[in-house]
C-alpha cells in the first residue's frame, strides 16, 4: 500500500498520525525509510514501552510552536509568556525566533502561533523577513493540517499598524490553515490585552492537549539566553547609577549625541554585544507642571493606575507617556474635553496621523486646553497610555567594561509651535539626570545581532549615526577576545569635524590594526551628499571579496532610508561583482540572512 493513499480508516493509525507519518516519510530517502521500518519493527518487538501510547494520545506528541517576529523583544516576551502559560497547563510548547524557524517545517506543523510586530511601512521585522518571503512565495505549501493563531503588536500612531500580523493571518488561512482564535492587533500598551489573548488561546487548545503526559517549554534552538539569571528584567528594572554623560558631537554640531555610561554593579545583569538596554525615564517636571496648569488639575489628586493609587503628579512623571503622542489619546481626550474640532480630527485617521507626527501630548493640550469642569484627573490618566521603556543598542562589551554598560544616545530636540521640545528618555538621560543619579534599566537580548562564533570570520559593520553603537561593542569584544578576523566599519554623519562619533577611539583601533578598514561618509561636507551606501559601492569589488570569504554583514541605524539604501547597494554589488541576475543577487542575500551572516538592528 502506498503511503500517499493511506487513510486512517484502513489502518490502526488516527487521521492525525497518518498525516504525521506522511509528513515524515515524504522527507526520507529510500535508505532512510528502510532504516525507520527496521527501527520501528525492533522497537515493537521490545514491547513498544517507550513509544506505544493509546491512539487518543496522539496529540500529545504535538506541541505548540510559538514563533515571534520581533524588533525590540516585545513579541518575544509575549511568546515566552504564552509558552509559560502552556507549560502550566502541561501543554508542550517551543518558542522559536522566526529567524531560526525552518520554513520547510511549515507543511508538517500542527499548531503554529505567531506573535509579531511590524515596522517601517508595513514591513516584517528583520528576523521575520525570510519566513515572510517564503510564505508569500510560490514555494509556500498548502497547510490543511495547520491550526494557527496570530497576535500583532504595534503602534496605532503608524499607518501600517500591525500589517505584518494581518498578512500572516490572511496568508495562512489562504493556504488552508484553520484559525484557533481570531487575531488581535495590540497597541503599544499591550500587556493586559496580550495576557488575555494568550489565556484565551490556551483555553482553546487545552482540550486538544488534555492527555499530554508531560510538557516542556523549549527555547529552540537553544542559542538564546546566555544571560545569567538576574532578578532584574523589564517588569522589575534595576536602578542603575549613571556614571557618565558626555556629549560626543562638536560644539557646532546640529546634533547632540551623548555617550552614556551606566553601572550595572550589584544587579547581576549581563549582556552580549548586540543586546539592547531598556531604559525607563521620568518626564520633564516642567511639562508635567504645565499639563496640570492647562488642565486645571491638582497634582495631588489621587488617581488609579493598574490597581494602584498614586498622585496625579507621580503618574504623569514616571508612569505615563507624555512625549510620544498616539491616536487613542486624542480620541479619549477629545471625548473627555468635549472639544468638537478635536473630536472631528480623531475621526480622520490620516489627518490624525500627520497631526500627531509632529506633536507631543503637551502640544495637543496646549492647542486644545480644557478646564477641570470637563476632565477629571482619572480621565486624563485613562486617556494617556503607560510609558514604554526605550531601547538603546548597547555600545560596550563586558569583556572590556565589565560591570558597566555604555549607550550612544541622540538627544531628540527640536522647536515646534514656538516651543522647544525634548525627547522623553533622551532628554532625561542628557539633561535631567545628574551623574550619580539612578535610572531604571534592564537588558533586552537580541540574538539576531551577534558576532560570528568563529573569531576568524571577517565582519563588515555598517552603522551611520548612532548606528555605530553596537559596533563599538563588537570592536571591544573582538579586541578583548583577540579575534583574528578582519573588521571593516562604515560610518557616516553630516559633518566630519562635528559628528564623527568615537573618532579618536576608532583612530586608535585603526592604528592598532583591530579595524582593518574604516570608511566614512560625511554627507554635508561636499556639494554632493555622500552616504555610507556610496562608500559601499565605491569599494564594491573588495566588499564582494569579503562576502565570498565568509564575512558577516551587519547594519545598524535608520530603518526607513539608510537600511533600504544599503540593502539596495548590497544587492547591486552582489549582482555586478558576482555576475549575477537580480534574482540571484536577492537569493544570495537571502541565503546570507538565513545563515545569519546578514543581520540588521534598525529602527
Amino acid at each position: 500500500m502506498l503511503l500517499s493513499s493511506l487513510v486512517a480508516q484502513a489502518s490502526p493509525l488516527s487521521e492525525q498520525q497518518v498525516q504525521q507519518l506522511q509528513g515524515l516519510v515524504s522527507q526520507l530517502n529510500p535508505i532512510q525509510q528502510a532504516w525507520v521500518s527496521g527501527y520501528l519493527a525492533a522497537s515493537a518487538q521490545l514491547g513498544g514501552a517507550q513509544t506505544a501510547a493509546p491512539a487518543a494520545a496522539a496529540a500529545s506528541s504535538a506541541s505548540l510552536t510559538i514563533v515571534y517576529g520581533s524588533q525590540t523583544g516585545n513579541a518575544r516576551h509575549v511568546a515566552e509568556a504564552l509558552a509559560s502559560l502552556a507549560k502550566a497547563k502541561n501543554i508542550a510548547a517551543k518558542v522559536i525566533d522566526l529567524a531560526d524557524y525552518k520554513s520547510s517545517q511549515l507543511k508538517n506543523e500542527q499548531y503554529l502561533i505567531i506573535v509579531t510586530s511590524t515596522y517601517g511601512e508595513g514591513e516584517p521585522p528583520e528576523n521575520a523577513v525570510s519566513f515572510y518571503n517564503f510564505l508569500f512565495s510560490k514555494k509556500a505549501p498548502k497547510v490543511p493540517q495547520l491550526k494557527f493563531a496570530v497576535l500583532g503588536l504595534g503602534d496605532t500612531s503608524y499607518e501600517f499598524f500591525c500589517k505584518t500580523a494581518a498578512d500572516f493571518d490572511e496568508r495562512l488561512a489562504e493556504l488552508g490553515g484553520q484559525r484557533l482564535q481570531a487575531r488581535s492587533d495590540l497597541d503599544v500598551d499591550y500587556d493586559a490585552a496580550a495576557d488575555s489573548w494568550n489565556n484565551a488561546l490556551i483555553n482553546v487548545v487545552e482540550p486538544e492537549f488534555a492527555r499530554a503526559p508531560s510538557a516542556q517549554v523549549i527555547n529552540w534552538p537553544g542559542q538564546a539566553a546566555p544571560v545569567a539569571a538576574s532578578q532584574y528584567n523589564k517588569q522589575q528594572p534595576f536602578a542603575a547609577e549613571l556614571y557618565t554623560n558626555q556629549k560626543i558631537t562638536g560644539r557646532d554640531s546640529a546634533k547632540d549625541v551623548r555617550h552614556i555610561e551606566i553601572s550595572l554593579e550589584g544587579s547581576g545583569l549581563t549582556y552580549l554585544p548586540g543586546d539592547a538596554l531598556g531604559v525607563y525615564f521620568e518626564n520633564d517636571p516642567v511639562i508635567v507642571t504645565e499639563l496640570l496648569s492647562l488642565t486645571g488639575l491638582e497634582g495631588t489628586a489621587q488617581v488609579n493606575l493598574a490597581n494602584q493609587s498614586l498622585s496625579l503628579t507621580d503618574a504623569l512623571t514616571s508612569q505615563l507617556e507624555l512625549t510620544q503622542s498616539y491616536p487613542a489619546f486624542v480620541e479619549k481626550y477629545a471625548a473627555a474635553s468635549g472639544n468638537d474640532a478635536l473630536q472631528q480630527l480623531a475621526t480622520d485617521k490620516t489627518a490624525l496621523r500627520s497631526y500627531l507626527a509632529v506633536r507631543q501630548i503637551i502640544d495637543i493640550v496646549r492647542e486644545y486646553p480644557v478646564t477641570s469642569t470637563s476632565i477629571s484627573a482619572q480621565q486624563l490618566v485613562d486617556a494617556l497610555r503607560k510609558q514604554q521603556p526605550r531601547l538603546y543598542s548597547i555600545a560596550s562589551s563586558q569583556a572590556e567594561v565589565e560591570q558597566e554598560v555604555h549607550l550612544t544616545v541622540a538627544v531628540v530636540r527640536y522647536d515646534a509651535f514656538g516651543q522647544p521640545h525634548v525627547g522623553g528618555a533622551s532628554g532625561y538621560l542628557a539633561e535631567r539626570l545628574a551623574e550619580g543619579d539612578r535610572i531604571k534599566v534592564f537588558v533586552e537580548q537580541n540574538n539576531n545581532f551577534r558576532l560570528p562564533a568563529n573569531d576568524d570570520t571577517p565582519v563588515i559593520m555598517i552603522g551611520p549615526g548612532t548606528g555605530i553603537a553596537p559596533f563599538r561593542a563588537f570592536l571591544q569584544e573582538r579586541d578583548a577576545r583577540g579575534a583574528s578576523g578582519k573588521n571593516w566599519l562604515f560610518f557616516g554623519n553630516p559633518h566630519f569635524t562635528q559628528d564623527f562619533l568615537y573618532q579618536t577611539e576608532l583612530q586608535g583601533y585603526l592604528k592598532q590594526g583591530l579595524l582593518s578598514k574604516l570608511d566614512v561618509a560625511f554627507s554635508r561636507d561636499s556639494a554632493e551628499k555622500v552616504y555610507v551606501q556610496h562608500k559601499l559601492r565605491k569599494h564594491a569589488a573588495e566588499l564582494f571579496q569579503w562576502l565570498e570569504q565568509g564575512a558577516h554583514v551587519y547594519i545598524c541605524g535608520d530603518a526607513n532610508r539608510m537600511a533600504k539604501d544599503v540593502h539596495q547597494a548590497l544587492l547591486d554589488i552582489v549582482q555586478q561583482q558576482g555576475g549575477k541576475s537580480a534574482e540571484q543577487a536577492q537569493l544570495y542575500l537571502d541565503e546570507l540572512r538565513v545563515a545569519k551572516r546578514y543581520q540588521k538592528d534598525v529602527y
Partner: protein, 572 residues
C-alpha cells in the same frame, strides 16, 4: 652635496636632528602628502607630512580653545591649516584681493584675512578638503605659497615706501627676483597641489641643497631711512643704496634673528651685521651664496642653534664673509653709510613723486574681518572693487591703498571712513603696537598675544595719559612664545609669553629697531607689568632728555643694561 669644497672644521659634527632625516627621506618635499589628502579619518597630516606641508606654506594648527573639550568628546583636535602666501614685497592687486576676500569668507573657519609681520596674508582655519582647492584657486589668481615656511628662504620682504616710487619699484623688483632665485626647485608643489604631471628628470636643489637649509631663513630688501621690515629680525638684508634717487647697489647685512628658547642661554636674539657693499649685478649671486654658506655650515645637529646668526657667531663673521666672497668670486666693498630714522608706517595720505596718492590704513593686529561697527573686510572689498592701483601689505601688519589717482582720492577715503578703516581715535601708541597671532590657532603659543594686545594698549594709553604723555608712544610688542613672530625682541617694551597670563618683560629696544632689549621682569602677570610700567613711565616723563625715547631712557638711566653683543650681553 656642495659644489664648493667643504671645510669640515666649520661644520658641527654629531647625530643629525630628526628634521634632517625627514627632509632626506621626503623625496624633495613630497613625502606622502598626497595619500594624506585622501585619508578621511583625520583632518590632520600624519608623521613627517606634518612638517613637510610647512615647506608648501602651511602649518597644521587646531583650535586650541576647544582642544580639551574635543578630547572629552572623543573627537580629534579641530585640525586645520594656516596658509601663508608668498608675496614678495607684499604687493597684491585689487582683483587678487577680491578673490582672497571671498575665499576667506567661504572656506576658512575664522573668515578673516590676516596681514602678517612677514608682509603677506594668511588664511587661518582651512580644513583638509579645502586645502587642495585653495592652492588651485590661488594659482588661478597668480599666487602661491611655496617655501613661506620650513627650512628654506621665506617670503622676501621689501620696504613699503610708496613715496620714493621709482626707488621702491626697483627695490621691489629685486625682492621678487631674490625670492624666485632662492625658491626650491622641486616640483612637489606643482604635483601635489596643482595636479601637474611628474616629470621624469633627476631633480636637484643646487642652491638650497638636497636636505634644504638647516633652519628657516629670512630675507629683506630695505630702503633707508625706513626700517619698517626690521632688518635685525632677518638672516639676510639688502640695504638699498641710491644715488640721485636711483638704486646702485646694496649693503649686505647678515645674521639677524629674534628667536630664542627659554632656559637655553645658547640661544638669543641677535642683530644683523654688515658684510659690505655690493653693486646690483652681484645681488642674486650674493643672495645665493649667503644661503649656500649657511646651508653648508649651519648646525644640522642642534636645531636650536641652526640659524645663520649662530653660524656667524660660531665661525666668525670674517670667515663667513670670506666664504661668501670666495663663492661669489667678488669681494665686498666697504659698506656705504646709511641711516634708519623710522620703523612704523606713515598712516594717512602721502603723495608719491610719481603724482599718485597712497593711503596707509591702520589694521589692528592685521586682522581683516568685519567687526561690530567696523566692517573692515567689507570696506576693503568695496575699495578693491573700485581701486585702480594696488594694495601693499606692510611688515607692520597694515595696508596701503597705493597708486590712487587724484580724482579717486575722495571716493577711496569715503569708503575707508564708512567702513571704520580710518579711525582718528587710534592713538600713536596703538599704531605702534604689535602682536603675533598666538592663541587660539598657533600651536606654539604659550600666552595670549593678538587677543590681549588691544586691552593692554588701552591700559598703557592710560598710563601715558596719567603722566601727560598721551601724544607720545612706546614701541610695544607682544609675542605669544619666544619664537619671535611679533618681533618683541626689537621693541622698547617687549612681552614674550611664558604661560597663560604670564610674560617676560624686556626693555631697551629703540624706535628704529637697532637695539635688542634686555630682560627686566621674569614670568610676571599683568598687574605687576602695569605697576612697573607706571613707575618707569612716570620716571621717563620727569627725567627724560628732550625727545628721548623710552628705550633710550631705560638704558641711559641703568634700568637695564644695554645689549651690545647678544652672545655675551643678552643673558648676562
Amino acid at each position: 652635496m656642495s659644489q664648493y669644497p667643504i671645510k669640515p672644521e666649520l661644520q658641527v659634527s654629531g647625530k643629525l636632528s630628526d628634521n634632517e632625516r625627514l627632509k632626506a627621506e621626503s623625496d624633495h618635499l613630497r613625502g606622502t602628502i598626497k595619500q594624506d589628502l585622501d585619508d578621511e579619518i583625520t583632518g590632520g597630516f600624519n608623521g613627517d607630512n606634518f612638517m613637510l606641508v610647512r615647506f608648501h606654506g602651511m602649518y597644521q594648527q587646531d583650535d586650541r580653545d576647544i582642544r580639551a573639550e574635543r578630547a572629552a568628546q572623543k573627537l580629534e583636535p579641530l585640525h586645520n591649516v594656516m596658509l601663508r602666501a608668498r608675496m614678495p614685497g607684499g604687493i597684491i592687486t585689487p582683483k587678487q584681493w577680491l578673490a582672497i576676500d571671498q575665499f576667506a569668507a567661504e572656506k576658512t573657519l575664522y573668515g578673516s584675512i590676516r596681514l602678517t609681520t612677514r608682509q603677506t596674508f594668511q588664511f587661518h582655519g582651512v580644513l583638509k578638503p579645502h586645502i587642495k582647492p585653495m592652492h588651485q584657486f590661488l594659482n588661478s589668481i597668480g599666487i602661491d605659497s611655496i617655501a613661506t615656511a620650513g627650512d628654506v628662504n621665506r617670503n622676501v620682504l621689501c620696504t613699503s615706501n610708496p613715496v620714493e616710487s621709482v626707488l621702491h619699484q626697483q627695490a621691489y623688483q629685486w625682492a621678487v627676483k631674490i625670492s624666485e632665485h632662492l625658491l626650491p626647485k622641486t616640483r612637489a608643489y606643482a604635483e601635489i597641489w596643482l595636479d601637474e604631471e611628474k616629470v621624469e628628470t633627476t631633480e636637484t636643489e643646487p642652491v638650497l641643497g638636497e636636505n634644504y637649509l638647516p633652519r628657516k631663513f629670512k630675507t629683506t630688501v630695505v630702503i633707508p631711512p625706513h626700517n619698517d621690515i626690521d632688518v635685525h629680525a632677518n638672516d639676510l638684508n639688502f640695504v638699498a643704496i641710491a644715488e640721485n634717487g636711483k638704486l646702485i647697489g646694496f649693503n649686505v647685512l647678515v645674521g639677524g634673528g629674534l628667536a630664542m628658547t627659554f632656559g637655553d642661554t645658547s640661544t638669543y636674539p641677535r642683530k644683523a651685521e654688515a658684510l659690505g657693499f655690493i653693486s646690483l649685478e652681484h645681488t642674486l649671486k650674493v643672495a645665493e651664496h649667503v644661503v649656500t654658506v649657511q646651508r653648508d655650515y649651519g648646525d644640522r645637529v642642534n636645531r636650536k642653534n641652526a640659524k645663520t646668526k649662530y653660524t656667524i657667531d660660531r665661525i666668525g663673521v670674517d670667515t663667513f664673509k670670506a666664504e661668501v666672497e670666495q663663492r661669489v668670486g667678488v669681494p665686498f666693498s666697504p659698506a656705504r653709510p646709511f641711516e634708519f630714522t623710522s620703523r612704523g608706517d606713515r598712516f594717512g595720505w602721502v603723495a608719491g613723486i610719481d603724482g599718485k596718492h597712497h593711503l596707509t590704513l591702520f589694521i589692528e593686529n592685521g586682522r581683516v574681518l568685519d567687526f561690530p561697527g567696523k566692517p573692515l573686510k567689507t570696506g576693503l572689498a568695496a575699495i578693491a572693487s573700485v581701486h585702480q592701483g594696488d594694495f601693499r601689505m606692510t611688515a607692520n601688519q597694515n595696508l596701503i591703498i597705493a597708486g590712487v589717482p587724484a580724482e579717486q582720492k575722495a571716493l577711496i577715503e569715503q569708503l575707508a571712513r564708512d567702513h571704520g578703516l580710518i579711525d582718528e581715535s587710534h592713538s600713536e601708541q596703538r599704531k605702534n603696537s604689535m602682536a603675533c597671532v598666538s592663541f587660539p590657532t598657533c600651536p606654539l603659543a604659550m600666552a595670549e598675544a593678538e587677543r590681549y594686545l588691544p586691552e593692554l594698549v588701552t591700559k598703557v594709553e592710560s598710563l601715558l595719559a596719567k603722566h601727560q604723555l598721551a601724544d607720545d608712544h612706546i614701541v610695544l610688542r607682544v609675542t605669544g612664545c619666544p619664537n619671535g613672530c611679533g618681533r618683541a625682541m626689537l621693541a622698547e617694551v617687549g612681552l614674550v609669553g611664558r604661560a597663560p597670563g604670564k610674560y617676560n618683560v624686556y626693555l631697551g629696544g629703540n624706535k628704529i629697531g637697532t637695539r635688542i632689549p634686555k630682560l627686566y621682569l621674569d614670568n610676571v602677570g599683568e598687574s605687576q607689568i602695569l605697576s612697573e610700567l607706571d613707575n618707569l613711565i612716570g620716571r621717563w616723563a620727569t627725567e627724560r632728555n628732550s625727545g628721548e625715547c623710552f628705550g633710550d631712557f631705560v638704558i641711559r638711566t641703568g634700568v637695564v643694561a644695554e645689549v651690545k653683543v647678544s652672545k655675551t650681553d643678552f643673558h648676562a
